[in-house]
Amino acid sequence: MTRVVIDPVTRIEGHLRIEVEVNDHKVTDAWSSGTMFRGIELVLRGRDPREAWIWAQRICGVCTTVHALASVRAVENALGVEIPENARIVRDIIAAAQNVQDHIIHFYHLHALDWVDVISALKADPAKTAQLAQSISDWPKCSAVYFKAVQNRVKTLADSRQLSLFGSGDWGHPAYRLPPEANLLAVAHYIEALELQREFIRIQAVLGGKNPHPQTYLMGGMATTMDGSEPDAVINPERITLLNELVSNAQTFVRQVYLPDVLAIAGFYPEWFQYGAGIGNYMTYGDYSGDSTKSASGFSFPRGIVLGRDLSAVLPLDPNNVTEYVTRSWYEYPDGDMGAKHPAQGVTDPKYSGPKPPYEFLKTDEKYSWLKSPRYNDKPMEVGPLARTLVAYASGNQQVKLLVDSKLAKLKLPASALFSTLGRVAARALEADIMVSRLSDWVAQLDDNISHGDVRLHNGDKWSPNSWPKSAQGFGFHEAPRGSLGHWVEIEDKKIANYQVVAPSTWNAGPRDAQAQRGPYEAALLDTPIANPERPLEVLRTVHSFDPCLACAVHVVRANGVANDKRR
């Protein structure tokens, strides 16, 4: 038996440590630990609720904007503020752009190097790479000359012995299966995707002033004024043209590069459609084209739960059933650590009891993480693009069903293959495809509204704190790139009294609970084959397939709140 430690887990956001037990080249147990805590929580207390989103947004700069959105929704929910249609559309565009960009960055820059051997690309015949590229896509950058130039670029790095970001990779590891030609193709697209992500996210600069951390939300709407005849209005016909161009370029990239690459690479790793399923429970709050605090029926991405890998039924979701444990987390509950608490009654009282640094191993039979363990009806849940895709699929959403079935058919796989490491990767790419086409719909709606003189973007009825009740409570949900995000707020005397967040990666990366049920990462790692315990690349594949975001995951908001009846 060998204890294998990966710390830092790189190519993620934040500080994640994975310890696994390896027996006979197989993972037999796993522990997921968040090793950083900021305690931002207390600073939100006493602040003006209208600026809560500015603070909350800083929970994460990778999934930037998602906490701003959930936060502004929570405050609007608490104070009963309706936002104009245009504001909803602008928010959806900002969020969907985040989703698509995040998915592209995840695949190429955070995950691909688990499957792609950069150095092997040096052995490729560029002409054969060109053939491969042309056989899977119409993407114009597909000539032998082009791939030769990319290969030269890698060769220059390798020859200089300054491989930069590619230094000390697992190159030559037996788990790499792509032929050199496919590796070269992927390296070319890694570089192209760096350019694409930078260009595409200009959408958030247009509508948010900057990225990361766009700055145009307002309680009651958006600050991005619209006017067809005012050249200095933020959203004007010229800017609409730019938005359309950026969306169109991204759509082409998703359809001609991202999706074909995922399918091509997955084709070389069919066994990874069997590994890494884990918990098998999938949850989503639902989102887009609706007010997520109200009826979930209008969502493009429906709300619900798929339990025990059963695609024949979608169970309804009641946010009241969300609780969190700290049994194995470095926190204390005042009434003992065996019970769970609803976020509205949550307590975040840090109490480190791990080994004194520097340390070699965590005390994994005790408390071992800064993450709490969220549960739904006492069950661990996986959240994220796969959960959203499965819930939509099981709900009978035709667009999702058609896309999933047709793409999996290319790999000769049934829908149940999605319960896996590569299932997560595929679901993310399919979601990007759907999301980017919705983006162009929403930009068109905005354009249409401008041309009809419908330019309202803000509802100022409740802007003045004098119009607020003495106390108010609310919640806001958002389906962020990595999954279901919830913010809970309590307002007293015009100030924030309590604030609570349960983030996607808390669901996925959290530790065991009072019943010793493993979290989704931990469960997914069981039975992972390990060729070489010194280079546990295979562990990384499954962990990365979740797209970890640890800054989000570590419980950032303290609330010693009281239960309230307004929350369902």
Binding site: I6, D7, P8, V9, T10, R11, E13, G14, H15, M36, F37, R38, G39, L42, V43, R45, I54, R58, C60, G61, V62, I105, L110, T156, L157, S160, Q162, L163, S164, L165, F166, G167, S168, G169, I191, L194, R198, I201, R202, A205, V206, L207, G208, G209, K210, P212, Q215, T216, G221, A223, E230, D232, A233, K356, P357, P358, E360, V455, G460, L540
Partner: protein
Amino acid sequence: MHAMTHQHSLAPSSGLESMIPVDKSVLELCRSRGISRRRFLEFCTAVTTTLALPSSYAEVIATALSQKKKPVLVWLEFQDCAGNTESMLRTSHPTVEDLVLESFSWEYHETIMAAYGKAAESALQRVVREEKGRYIVVVEGAIPTADGGVYCTIGGRTALDIAQEVCGSAAAIIAVGACAWDGGLVRSGPNPTGALGLQGAVPGLHVVNLPGCPHNSANIAAVLVHYLTFGEMPALDPLNRPLFAYGDIIHDQCERRAHYDAGRFAEEWDDEGARKGWCLYKMGCKGPEANLNCPTVQWNGGTSWPVKAGHGCIACASPRFWDTKSPFYDRLPHPAGFGVDVTVSEIGWTVVGAVAVATAAHGITSIVRDRLHSNAETTKIREKPGPTEEQ
């Protein structure tokens, strides 16, 4: 204050020549991967603009870059949100792909590096050991100092332990974002983890600060190119921020300034004034108390910036801004422009001048410094210092 020691933060220019020898110069590297001299010069021109150098310097920078070898860079992340990493990934001059693959040997950066676990730790150790005194370190995020540093560990070591070791052997240190500068959001309020910025947590370091939440990638690109070109960091203000980026007040550079002077304000969100792009002062904009070059370089390849997009500035590059600039929607008490414009020397912060004088003038660098120096003399600083800085 560490202000009087600024001149020491300038790395010796001999450092670069002794970097790891590479076979080809940067320009040859460009050619070898099909990048034309023209495109290369375009990039140099863009950086020259950001740095506020005379345009003739484009050629100087191009020449310098083409002769320098690749310096090693490591990027450390502590109590962060990775927003500064993401911001860096958006750089267009030079492009991010050039920056992380070719302009530097980017050897440690957890968010994007290939290596993981032990191999990643070894990569960092190798740099500290073999590149001692020659590498650049970028730090992102605050550093927790309470309870033995248990609030941030990497590979079982505390952030403080790693920062001390890695920064202690570096040729140059850049703190990106508000958190690495003065602790930022992590330090605000009751600060349960005892978080500090880098220069507070590791006293005695000579740090170039690029505050902002996050910092703007145009500025780190310019700083890095300046370092590549001149072998030293650009001139700094009393808070160790580069003057080219932090020397001017947002309000003075703002595209809505004419409306302010003419008394045209947005009075409510989404009103006629807001749609016409009038001044956001009455909506709480902190531009009059903020020093940064957002209005001129803008964000995301010059696409926009918050005030252009309709929302007030939150002065995110000002000292302890979370504590000193919130509430963000309250109107500033003293209308800027009607208040007192204080120059650097009037305040008594003479350090900017000291940097220029104390640095040996030789070759082109002296021209650069003279230009920045004369800029500094007239720089208006209206920012109030934050709460007492760490000792």
